[in-house]
């Protein structure tokens, strides 16, 4: 046969009858989760060639730690995307939540701290701000049925403005110890933030893959009418997801605050592009209902490994940003090629 490549499968509606037609598709579906693993191995090899310290434990820990905070934003965004919405405001919550905690707990005299509450309250406040932002987002998106993109874009600006307002545009220092502990402590010789990040991703994998709640996120993102007909309380699931996402962003912000022992007014500024890119490269669809938490993790890991290789290769810091953007676009193009489907 001359034209075996003209596969009818490309029309999107093949009718697989026997097992012969169905097997490859099945295998493909499972492999999609691991689509980035070859790329990660390739980068590891390149990295090792560029600089022999790349694969040493210190460097790997360094990569994992620098990505641990933002990876929680990726986890949050992955959940929101799977349920069929998007949340741009995550990057502002990432700064505002620890910012408010610092504002209320840092003693008067240092920066714009109010010193109203003792350091003990720092973490509860951070989490509470996360919940509050999630509630406001959900109120607009779920309750009033507004478009998630435009609502969270508004929230992104409002929350960023709030942080600038309370901090007077300055950085909070002299944070209470409770705020810096998680971001700077070492557990079993590895930074606590890595443990926390890995733990939260593991929980994410478990919830999304193996609980009725997690599966309902896929159902809602895939076809909300069908999910309703199946008895899923779609509104409630959306509320919980949006709130959980904001809380994850707050925790991420807390970890970064701990590592840097400060909250800058611009904390998280501009992170959302990387977050979206990592999720999409990791196979999460912008149209909802598709992608996995594990995939999202490989997405952000790949981006940070590449960044690390660039630094090791001695690329000047001024150029890293431009290269980073270019790499993300390249990675998107590559994942389109390997994934075989158009990115939606």
């Amino acid at each position: 046969m001359p034209e075996t490549t003209a596969a009818p499968a490309e029309t999107g509606r093949p009718a697989p009858k026997g097992s012969a037609g169905s097997r490859p598709a099945l295998r493909l579906a499972r492999l999609r989760d691991f689509a980035l693993v070859p790329a990660i191995i390739a980068i590891a090899i390149v990295g090792q060639i560029v600089h022999p310290i790349f694969l040493q434990a210190d460097n790997i820990i360094n990569i994992l730690q620098t990505m641990s905070e933002i990876s929680l934003l990726v986890l949050a965004q992955a959940l929101v995307l799977i349920v069929g919405k998007m949340d741009l405001s995550l990057e502002s919550t990432f700064g505002l939540a620890p910012g408010v905690a610092a504002w209320l707990t840092v003693a008067v005299g240092t920066g714009s701290g109010l010193g109203l509450l003792s350091g003990f309250w720092a973490i509860p406040i951070t989490l509470a701000v996360g919940v509050l932002v999630g509630v406001v987002n959900a109120l607009f998106i779920v309750r009033f049925g507004l478009n998630g993109f435009i609502v969270t874009l508004g929230m992104l600006i409002v929350l960023r403005g709030l942080l600038t307002g309370i901090s007077g545009g300055q950085t909070f220092f002299n944070l209470p110890e409770s705020m810096t502990y998680l971001g700077s402590a070492m557990w079993f010789g590895v930074p606590a933030s890595i443990w926390i990040c890995l733990l939260l991703f593991a929980v994410g994998v478990l919830v999304m893959g193996f609980t009725g709640f997690g599966r309902s996120l896929y159902a809602i993102g895939g076809n909300v009418d069908a999910a309703k007909a199946a008895g899923i309380r779609t509104d409630r699931v959306l509320w919980i997801t949006l709130i959980a996402a904001s809380v994850l962003a707050a925790i991420g912000g807390l970890l970064l605050t701990g590592r840097l022992a400060s909250v800058a007014a611009a904390q998280g500024d501009g992170a959302i592009f990387t977050v979206f890119a990592a999720a999409v490269i990791g196979g999460v669809s912008l149209n909802g209902g598709k992608g996995t938490v594990f995939g999202a993790f490989t997405g952000i890991l790949l981006l940070y490994m590449i960044q690390n290789v660039l630094t090791l290769a001695g690329v000047p810091a001024q150029w890293i940003e431009a290269l980073n953007g270019a790499i993300i676009l390249t990675a998107l193009a590559l994942s389109r090629l390997t994934g075989g489907k158009t990115q939606e």
Binding site: M1, T11, P16, R23, G212, A219, N223, A230
Partner: protein
């Protein structure tokens, strides 16, 4: 006639809807309509497209609240909308619009929101796959339950939905046009199953535009017209003519088809198909269609007629062979190329390949003809609405206006929009795949008359269908069986000849 006879029985109704009114903006979908369903019966609900049948279904299954009126199950008021589980104990449903989630596996679609759990309260995929496979086996649906549902064909998807609805154990089941996408053999299987369940006391509300099915499987029939209840009667006491009259509100029954003038032998060949082959799907098909000729492609599901038609329309690429449209040879598998060559298409599945649900009727109908909407790539809204309005009147699409999003239309009216779109491009060749699926009897007559009219202007038409009404229109019908053209029947065939040919039975009359 005209008065509603409420069936009196000792047990009382299993479900009843009373004085239901439902409005969508200015459209009144239900206007004080009522229905009473007795336990154990199979109750038909019929009416023209847009009569309000599916709206009643969504209210009866607790997806929507009526503006006025009440629902009762077994004499007791219906649960609140938020209590989905309570609704699902009382009524299961196959909705007209697919409720399959394409990205999830078949098994998960079957057991959505009622996953199996293991000791740790985690989803137990293994036992779910097993259960799903068993369930589908009883329906002889041969698919791997771990495939994403989007890989399924329309028919398999339909059976997954039916199997799911019947697996809930509810004693009252609503089927909203379950047969519109099924072929004869599959319908027979469904009916066997329904009869067996009726033996066990299951009650059905059955919606279909195929009136012969009503007579075959139902006990009682309720007719809705223009959002109102018209009558309820035992099926046996309502002859077909009266049923159609109740649906349409006109005394006249369906018209007899006039014989078509024969196509001149020297008419241009519009479609020239040679040696078309695609693995097991179809093989060695030759076909020539002349200007003004209507050619049918008949066959059951799996006969390859749909795939063949899709190949002709450029939706698929064949392994071997050529398709020539009006002397041009569009690139294989390229829809834009086929469009440019003058092909108009009504695809198999309107939800999947046909419509953009949130866009207006106007945008959907005129999507294929941007060049007629304005100059230099700019779309003139006024031109577009004019064109759309013309098609709405031409095809009798029931809508308040061209600006309504298509998902606000009833199922049959959506199908007409797909049809309108295919006609909009003034095609040289029209490829229609089950074009009248879900269209009511009178509109079907109307659509088919339109097809004839277009053929009369010199368009070649290919109709792939297993509906005898569609095929009767054709000048000749090629019958396919297991991927090969086995029989050719000229117009004037008898129903039993056609059915036998489709089933691959040799008839020596």
């Amino acid at each position: 006639m005209g008065a509603s006879t409420s069936p009196s029985s000792v047990t009382g109704p299993i479900a009843e809807a009373e004085r239901i009114t439902k409005r969508y903006g200015e459209t009144v979908a239900l206007d004080g309509a009522h229905i009473t369903i007795t336990p154990g019966e199979t109750h038909a609900l019929v009416g023209r497209n847009g009569a309000g049948k599916s709206t009643l279904v969504s209210i009866l299954t607790g997806l929507q609240e009526p503006d006025e009126g009440a629902i009762r199950f077994g004499g007791r008021p219906a649960p609140r909308l938020s209590e989905r589980d309570a609704w699902r104990e009382r009524v299961a449903c196959v909705y007209q619009k697919s409720t399959i989630i394409p990205e999830l596996t078949v098994a998960e679609n079957l057991y959505l929101n009622r996953h199996d759990h293991n000791g740790l309260r985690l989803v137990s995929w293994k036992s779910m796959w097993k259960k799903a496979a068993d369930l589908l086996e009883t329906w002889s649906v041969d698919v791997d339950v771990r495939l994403p549902a989007k890989e399924l064909g329309v028919e398999q998807r339909q059976f997954v939905e039916i199997a799911r609805a019947l697996s809930f154990g509810a004693r009252f089941i609503i089927l909203d046009e379950p047969t519109a996408q099924l072929d004869g053999a599959a319908i027979a299987r469904l009916f066997d199953r329904m009869r067996a369940m009726r033996e066990q006391g299951v009650t059905f509300l059955f919606i279909s535009h195929h009136l012969q099915e009503i007579y075959e499987i139902c006990d009682t029939v309720t007719v809705f017209r223009d959002a109102r209840h018209i009558l309820t009667a035992p099926v046996m006491e309502l002859p077909r003519g009266d049923l159609v009259a109740a649906m349409t509100g006109e005394a006249a029954g369906l018209q007899e088809r006039k014989a078509r003038p024969s196509v001149p032998v020297d008419a241009d060949v519009i479609l020239d198909v040679r040696g078309l082959t695609d693995g097991d799907l179809y093989a060695g098909v030759d076909l020539r269609v002349r200007a003004g000729e209507i050619v049918g492609l008949a066959g059951l599901g799996g006969s390859g007629k749909t795939e063949l038609a899709e190949t002709i329309a450029g939706l698929r690429a064949p392994r071997e062979g050529t398709v020539e449209v009006a002397g041009r040879r569009p690139r294989a598998g390229s829809v834009p190329d086929s469009l440019a060559a003058g092909v108009g298409l009504v695809p198999r599945d309107r939800h999947h390949q046909g419509l953009i649900p949130l866009m207006s009727i106007a945008d959907n109908t005129t999507m294929t003809v941007p060049e007629r909407l304005g100059t230099a790539g700019l779309v003139s809204g006024r031109r577009r609405d004019e064109l759309a309005r013309e098609m709405i009147t031409n095809l009798a699409i029931k809508t308040p206006g061209p600006e309504l999003p298509v998902n606000g239309l009833s199922g049959g009216n959506q199908q007409k929009v797909v049809m309108a779109r295919a006609l909009a491009s003034d095609p040289r060749l029209l490829v229609l795949i089950t074009p009248t699926a879900g269209v009511d009897v009178r509109s079907k007559e109307f659509l088919l008359a339109k097809v004839e009219e277009i053929a009369g202007k010199g368009t070649g038409v290919v109709i792939a269908s297993d509906e005898l009404d569609d095929l009767r229109l054709c000048d000749r019908v090629l019958v396919m069986f297991h991927g090969r053209v086995t029989t050719e029947l000229a117009a004037g065939w008898h129903d039993h000849e056609m059915v036998a040919a489709m089933e691959g039975v040799e008839l020596d009359a």
